[in-house]
Amino acid sequence: MSNQRKILKLSRIEVEPNYADRTWQIIEHGINQIFNHNDRELSMEELYRAAYNMVLHRFGEMQYNGLVVTVTRHLEEMRKSIESAEGSFLDELNRKWTDYTESMQKIRDILMYMDRSYVPTHHKTPIKEVGLNLWRDHIIHSAKIQTLLVDSLLEEIHRERMGEVINHGLMRNVIKMLTELGVYQEVLESINAFEDVIINSFKYLAL
């Protein structure tokens, strides 16, 4: 009986004092690389394992908060680059949005264990939603971008009404993004003039 007890001692990783910090650094580096499109060099196995161990050792909260901070930092950079891209604003916005969703998907992959166990047991918002919320709060709700966005959309619609050919695919993507974020209505409401004209146009485009 007593032998049995001895062998059951688990080979768990010993928690060193700075264990959590070190592990988080690995994950943070991974997230940065993902945003920088260097993810081909990353090992999913290593990152997943690090994230798994962190949650298992009850550093789920640290991981969760760290994720929010890191993503926010990248969003700030994106915001600047979108704001400065004056000429092709919608293009830039759409490109960044596509990048962002792809990156977030990969981040969700490596943090899957947290999404599965920490998030439900601690009643947190799932990573996917966190991603959308952050994008909405930092990009769409930025005053400058919001004005630019409304102006550009109006301009595109206006151009189409004048008989020009516009990029329907781009318009559709942007409007899809707004619906996904749940701010479609909100953006619409900020446009006071031509309201119903615009609603109709949007509906047509959103089809």
């Binding site: 049995q4 768990r12 394992r49 899957m112 264990y113 920490y118 439900p120």
Partner: protein, 864 residues
């Protein structure tokens, strides 16, 4: 697959029946219900077209119904009735009820009734019966009882989906999880779990291309899948492209669809071509289906002479079977063949290495992806592993990983040992890490089966880390608490448990006296409080050796407590609250009291002065009583009326089992026996009397010298008058003179109509104190126009003992079954709030608080 789930508790009283929209099959005549039930006999389920009433009785039902009774005839037989006629009556083949919860599932598919045991529907089939004349309309499930109440929980109603994937069907039950925490991950799973269907005509991991038709349309497939279902032609073993110039795309599509999903549709004139293709790949199940179909078509053709051009459906036998509740996993799939693919590495596309060990297996990305979401992502999300055919894992035990791999391929855990082994724990962690819930469940099951006093501690330590192992964790804690003495003295393993876990165990022992059925565990001794103190001190010291409190006290006299207890010193105080000092032997109590003067928890210990109490620890004896509804037969008053289970009920006051006294003298309307009589009294009250210069009205109950009750629930019933009490207290006492408030009601508006029943839980420490006397005392005049000091009530019932939270949600529970007020959904009132209340009534003194004549225990002790 959508899942309607209700995991809550549901207790059905005698001859009652619970219905609800949630217990409804999505599709009439087809569905499955899985549940856990605890009962002495007659766990009865009724399946009918419409919802029935609470007092529904299947013998009197004129509509079509199936009634299934588990544990009929005093828990000896399994019975199925159709429209009230018995069609099956067999000695129950392992389908009995028990007073601990057992899991069952029942599926109905167009008259085919399957009944099985266990948590997982369609596994462990025990009985099957086919109704020749199916009642296809049955849709609602009623959970019923017979002459004993039945408790149900974890009730899941599942649809039987048409296209259950035959092969991996078992894995399709995504949300079907064991317990709460597992279930919470539902979203994650439905999104991430892949099925073989997802790989049909998918280029991902494809290693075989069909070039179809003259234009050479490329259709992807997987050698592994074709190889498992049939055989890959020799000339293709090496090659990658398979040319089928004479076959149309529709045929190839149907062929693949059949293999990947178990069913397909095809235009009837193409069946021949499909058969030919199936023969080429030796897909025997498809060959058989095609041949059957051709015979049938030929018969038709004799009459019509042409192809109709209509689509015909081809379905795998196994698919059909799984729809009717068979075993999806074990049917036609050649598991041996699949295992062969693993052992030979044929058609493998990934080499798995373990750091420090080397190559463990040549595996298939397809299989790994089907079973484990993290692997699926690893192979597809564009990171390093996606483009490589080698992956290397770290911190993984090669043995455990091999077992994991084998499980992924064949769905079975190939481990013969029934003993607890570290491997099993490793495997549990590993399956959790890679999100293989089936294996995790299997491991949990095995571990909980072989828990022993020696292993529970290390297991608990590991399991408490894993958020998704809640049920196993609970099982471990229960086990630990049950063997508390052993677990805390045989080794000091328990000091490595974390705070929350340890606290829960202590809480469990406190409740133990009440919860765990003494009859079932006669060997279980009530943990002595001294052991609890020892355990708490040792845990706080994080000691390597077991030592008693006296030893620790000696050490304390010469050293700094902060140093001795380290970081856990702050927890010491909170934990010592779990010790029930009043239950300790007085000599011991005195000793304990004189020790530990260094620590500031000294105030916890009662000061006894000069009185000479004698505490004695006696073996206790319980009766489990369950509160079901107001006025039921499960309270102490009723139980006393049967002389504690010995005979039919007689009024306990008349039988002199219980004494009831009122503040005013007995009279026609102040009748002690009426209060426990179980019949409604239009006028029944206790008038005021002067006590200590104050007017008091009360009803008092004396359980007699030999009995004490830890009361945690009480029920009263208003008489026919409108004098409703608003300010009153429910009190307990040991001597009938010194009273302690168990629950104080201040302007409680609960009672608002004549004849109303109302119940309140007693929570907090007082629910854990045993008393002999109880009373309801009015503390201010009653409500209403003719406000008075009369305490009007015509019935009282006490229920004792308690579940974890010491008596449920804390609010009053009103059940208007009297006086024509029928609150809707009364039944579910209990259902929603976790108000399982166990009652414990001591037949001999509960824990023998046996005292001298002048024994006056300081009960306020725990009332901080």
């Amino acid at each position: 697959m959508e899942l309607v789930e209700k995991k809550k508790f549901l207790t059905v009283g005698q001859f009652e029946c619970a219905w609800g929209e949630e217990f409804r099959f999505k599709e009439a005549g087809r569905g499955c219900i899985s549940f856990e039930a605890s009962a002495q006999n007659d766990v009865t389920l009724v399946f009918r077209e419409q919802i029935g009433s609470r007092h529904y009785h299947y013998k009197m039902d004129n509509h079509h119904n199936y009634t299934i009774i588990l544990g009929s005839h005093r828990n000896r037989r399994l019975k199925i009735e159709v429209d009230g006629k018995t069609v099956v009556d067999v000695a129950s083949i392992g389908l009995c009820c028990s007073s601990s919860f057992q899991s069952y599932w029942i599926s109905i598919y167009d008259g085919l009734i399957s009944i099985g045991k266990g948590l997982y529907p369609f596994q462990n089939l025990v009985f099957q019966w086919l109704d020749e004349n199916p009642r296809c309309q049955v849709q609602y499930v009623g959970l019923c009882s017979w002459d004993k109440h039945v408790s149900y929980r974890n009730i899941n109603v599942l649809p039987l989906e048409q296209n259950n994937n035959s092969l991996w069907g078992k894995f399709d039950y995504k949300g079907l999880e064991e317990r709460t925490s597992d279930r919470e991950g539902g979203d994650y799973r439905s999104e991430n779990i892949l099925t073989l269907r997802d790989f049909c005509e998918n280029w991902e991991f494809s290693d075989l291309v069909f070039e179809v038709g003259y234009d050479g349309k490329a259709v992807p497939a997987h050698k592994l899948v074709l190889g498992v279902f049939g055989e890959i032609p020799c000339n293709l073993v090496e090659g990658r492209v398979f040319k089928l110039p004479l076959v149309s795309y529709a045929v190839v599509r149907a062929f693949l669809e059949f293999i990947y999903t178990g069913r397909t549709q095809i235009v009837d004139e193409e069946v021949d071509a499909l058969l030919k293709l199936a023969k080429q790949f030796k897909v025997s199940s498809l060959i058989k289906q095609c041949q059957k179909l051709i015979t049938r078509l030929e018969k038709n053709r004799k009459e019509v002479f042409t192809y109709s051009g209509a689509n015909v459906e081809i379905m795998n036998d196994a698919t059909r079977l799984s729809q009717s509740g068979g075993f999806p996993f074990e049917t036609h799939l050649n598991l041996e063949k699949l295992k062969c693919f693993l052992s030979t590495g044929e058609a493998s596309d990934v080499n798995i290495y373990i750091a420090g060990y080397g190559l463990v297996a040549r595996a298939h990305k397809l299989i790994l992806s089907l079973r484990s979401p993290p692997f699926a992502k690893m192979f597809t999300n564009g990171m390093m592993e996606s483009s490589s055919s080698d992956i290397s894992l770290q911190d993984v035990s090669p043995e455990a990983f091999s077992l994991l791999l084998k499980f992924m391929y064949c769905g079975e855990l190939e481990m013969k040992e029934t003993e607890m082994s570290p491997l099993l724990l490793d495997l549990l962690l590993l399956s959790d890490q890679f999100g293989i819930t089936m294996l995790q469940r299997e491991c949990s099951k095995r571990i909980s089966e072989c828990l022993s006093e020696d292993t529970v501690c290390p297991v608990l330590e590991v399991v408490s880390w894993v958020p998704s192992c809640k049920s196993l964790e609970e099982a471990c804690k229960r086990h630990f608490a049950m063997h508390f003495d052993y677990c805390t003295t045989a080794s000091s393993d328990f000091v490595s448990l974390d705070e929350a876990t340890f606290k829960e165990i202590l809480q469990a022992i406190r409740n133990f006296l009440l919860i765990f059925l003494w009859q079932q565990h006669p060997e279980m001794t009530v943990t002595c409080e001294e052991k609890v103190i020892n355990a708490i001190l040792v845990w706080c010291m994080q000691a390597n050796e077991i030592c008693g409190w006296a030893q620790i006290d000696d050490v304390l006299r010469s050293s700094d407590p902060a140093q001795l207890f380290g970081e856990r010193i702050s927890l010491l105080d909170a934990l010592l609250h779990f010790v029930r000092f009043p239950l300790m032997h007085s000599s011991l109590l005195n000793k304990v009291r004189s020790s530990f003067y260094v620590l500031n928890f000294i105030y916890l210990l009662p000061i006894h002065g000069t009185k000479n109490e004698r505490y004695q620890h006696r073996r206790s004896c319980y009766k489990e009583l369950q509160y079901i509804c107001d006025g039921d037969n499960n309270g102490v008053m009723y139980y006393a009326g049967t002389s504690f289970g010995e005979h039919q009920w007689v009024n306990p006051v008349l039988a002199k089992k219980i004494m009831v006294t009122a503040s005013s003298p007995a009279s026609r309307y102040t009748d002690p026996k009426a209060l426990v009589s179980r019949t409604y009294q239009a006028t029944c009250f206790a008038g005021p009397r002067m006590e200590d210069g104050r007017n008091c009205s009360w009803w008092m109950i004396d359980l007699g010298q030999d009995h004490q009750l830890m009361c945690n629930y009480y029920t009263v019933r208003q008489d026919g008058s409108m004098t409703f009490m608003r300010y009153w207290a429910f009190q307990g006492s040991m001597d009938g003179e010194n009273w302690m408030n168990l629950r104080v009601h201040e302007n409680d508006q609960t009672i608002c109509w004549p004849g109303q029943f109302a119940s309140w839980p007693i929570s907090g420490p007082s629910a854990l104190l045993p008393f002999r006397f109880f009373r309801v005392i009015l503390t201010a005049p009653t409500a209403g126009d003719n406000s008075s000091l009369d305490l009007s009530m015509c019935f009282i019932e006490l229920v004792g003992g308690g579940g974890g939270g010491g008596g449920g949600s804390g609010g009053p529970h009103i059940h208007g079954r009297a006086g024509g007020h029928k609150a809707s959904g009364t039944f579910f009132g209990h259902y929603s709030g976790r108000i399982l209340v166990l009652a414990a009534l001591s037949l001999s003194p509960m824990f023998g608080v046996d005292r001298n004549d002048d024994g006056d225990v300081d009960w306020d002790l725990l009332d901080h």
